[in-house]
């Protein structure tokens, strides 16, 4: 059992710069939580506070109900995997994986069994006598994970572990982490700035910006029902299109274009009559056929889909992900309609949705 509670965590540095504001999170046993956000949003700082590598300025950290806010890193029973692997170059893979246990003066036979078991899980058995510089980036990252596994910690902490890998290897290692999580059923806190990693790995995602938590939820919740414009544009690739519009006469009027609304949407937006509303439309929620016209800027053919970058109305930029291979030329007009729309209050940037949602 490893339940982690982060209660009202703040991080204020000596120079009064605040990196994390009132961070609250309950991590259930065996849950994989991904902290995602742009560089400098405080996600790594939060992870380092959990690991004990940074002091917690305010708030409490509880592991299985025990307050470990002031506990030193070595007593927290957590293992951290770093972006740069942090392997010892002069040691073999076996020695690297055994190192933390050797320091604890555990029985060498016990260490051996743990290292072999971890190597088996990570498919590293054939590499145990090699040095780190003889391995690929993905294998090195697996060694770093192995070093964490042999400790059998209560919580695994991953700090952007895939950032040093190329795209193909990143995808493969991501799948391995997912399989590892399913196999170990371990509680994992995982930091990344890559929203694809977050969406594919997480049981729940914590989306952060400027030290504040923007939304906590399942990947689908963040994708489908973003709390605000930040989450809406950060989650999803290509990002959600955002249009400044005004709600008038039952339609949303933008610069040179308008979007028809269903009766439900009209009633939802009724309090905003003649007021500004930010309209959000995901590129994949745009389909061919309809009254709107995209003037094509350029096409990116992806095989099954085509990304059409262009403009609508008075030169408002839009990206649409249309089905199939498209041979549109620059300047062509492509009729489209919006399958799904998101609405945001321009003052608060929060999503406008029914109270029940």
């Amino acid at each position: 059992m490893a339940e982690l509670k982060l209660q009202h965590l703040d991080k204020i540095y000596d120079n009064k710069v605040q990196a994390v504001y009132d961070f609250n999170l309950d991590v259930k046993d065996g849950e994989l939580i991904v902290l995602v956000g742009p560089s400098g949003c405080g996600k790594s700082t939060t992870l380092r506070m959990v690991a004990g590598l940074e002091d917690i300025s305010n708030g409490h950290l509880l592991l299985d109900g025990k307050d470990i806010t002031q506990a030193p890193a070595k007593d927290r029973d957590m293992a951290m995997v770093f972006q740069n692997y942090a392997l010892y170059g002069h040691m073999t893979i076996y020695e690297n994986m055994a190192f933390s246990l050797t320091l604890r003066k555990e029985d060498p036979n016990v260490i051996h069994k743990k290292v072999l078991a971890a190597a088996e899980i990570l498919d590293l058995t054939a590499q145990l006598n090699k040095k780190p510089n003889q391995l690929s980036g993905g294998q090195r990252q697996r060694v770093a994970m192995g070093r964490a596994i042999v400790r059998n910690p209560k919580v695994f902490l991953f700090d952007e572990p895939l950032s040093n890998l190329d795209a193909k290897l990143r995808s493969a290692t991501r799948r391995e982490i997912l399989l590892l999580h399913k196999r170990l059923q371990a509680t994992i806190l995982y930091v990344t700035h890559d929203q694809t990693e977050a969406l594919t790995l997480a049981d729940r995602i914590v989306c952060m910006s400027m030290g504040h938590v923007q939304q906590i939820g399942t990947p689908l919740e963040l994708y489908d029902r973003p709390n605000n414009t930040f989450v809406a544009t950060f989650i999803g690739l290509p990002p959600m299109n955002m249009f400044d519009t005004v709600f008038e006469d039952g339609v949303l009027k933008g610069k040179g274009f308008s979007a028809e609304l269903t009766p439900e949407q009209q009633s939802l937006l009724a309090p905003y009559a003649r007021k500004k509303i930010i309209l959000g439309v995901r590129p994949e929620d745009i389909a061919e056929g309809g009254s709107l016209e995209i003037r094509v800027g350029n096409n990116e053919n992806l095989g099954m889909n085509t990304l059409v970058h262009g403009t609508v109305g008075e030169g408002i930029h839009i990206t649409a992900k249309l089905r199939g291979w498209s041979d549109n030329k620059v300047g062509d007009l492509v009729p489209v309609h919006f399958n799904r729309m998101h609405f945001f209050d321009p003052e608060t940037t929060n999503a406008i949705r029914k109270e029940a949602e």
Binding site: P108, N109, H112, L116
Partner: protein, 157 residues
């Protein structure tokens, strides 16, 4: 996995540090020996071809012992013979400079005094003991490891 199997299997991934460290300790004793030998300055007693040979042998000994200490780390059985040969060399050396120098007199005094004589013999003997120890441990471990690997290859894991 029983304890004995684990102990043997561990050798597949760990170095033979006990043999290696004993070989390095043999080098340390040898260094103490030649520091003691070369610091003596008794007229022109040492200006012979023998001292030249001694210096060259010391260099060869240091290099060969270090090479053997690295070799035994990987359980290479052939280095056992090299270590034993070097141990024999250390025993033989006892009967060259310490004994001859102790027996030689310059202006009525022994070239190597009693205290220095005993110290040099202890150094060479200790060096030889370390080398023999390193050789025996390496022989035993390398044999155990090769038997274990043969057993694994035979599918007895």
């Amino acid at each position: 996995m029983n304890e004995e199997y684990t102990r043997l299997d561990r050798m597949r991934y760990t170095k033979n540090t006990s043999s290696s460290r004993l070989a390095i300790l043999a080098i340390v004793f040898d260094v103490l020996f030649f520091i003691s030998l070369y610091k003596s300055d008794v007229g022109n007693y040492y200006y012979t071809i023998l001292i030249g040979a001694s210096i060259i042998y010391n260099l060869v000994f240091l290099l060969a012992t270090f090479l053997a200490s690295e070799g035994v780390k990987g359980y290479q059985r052939n280095y056992t013979w090299l270590l034993l040969a070097l141990a024999c060399g250390q025993i033989v050396r006892i009967f060259i400079y310490p004994v001859q120098g102790h027996a030689a007199k310059v202006s009525g005094a022994a070239v190597i005094g009693d205290g220095q004589f005993i110290f040099m013999i202890i150094c060479l003997a200790a060096s030889a003991v370390c080398l023999v120890g390193a050789a025996l441990i390496n022989w035993r471990k390398s044999k155990a490891l090769s038997d274990h690997i043969a057993s694994l290859e035979a599918g007895n894991a």
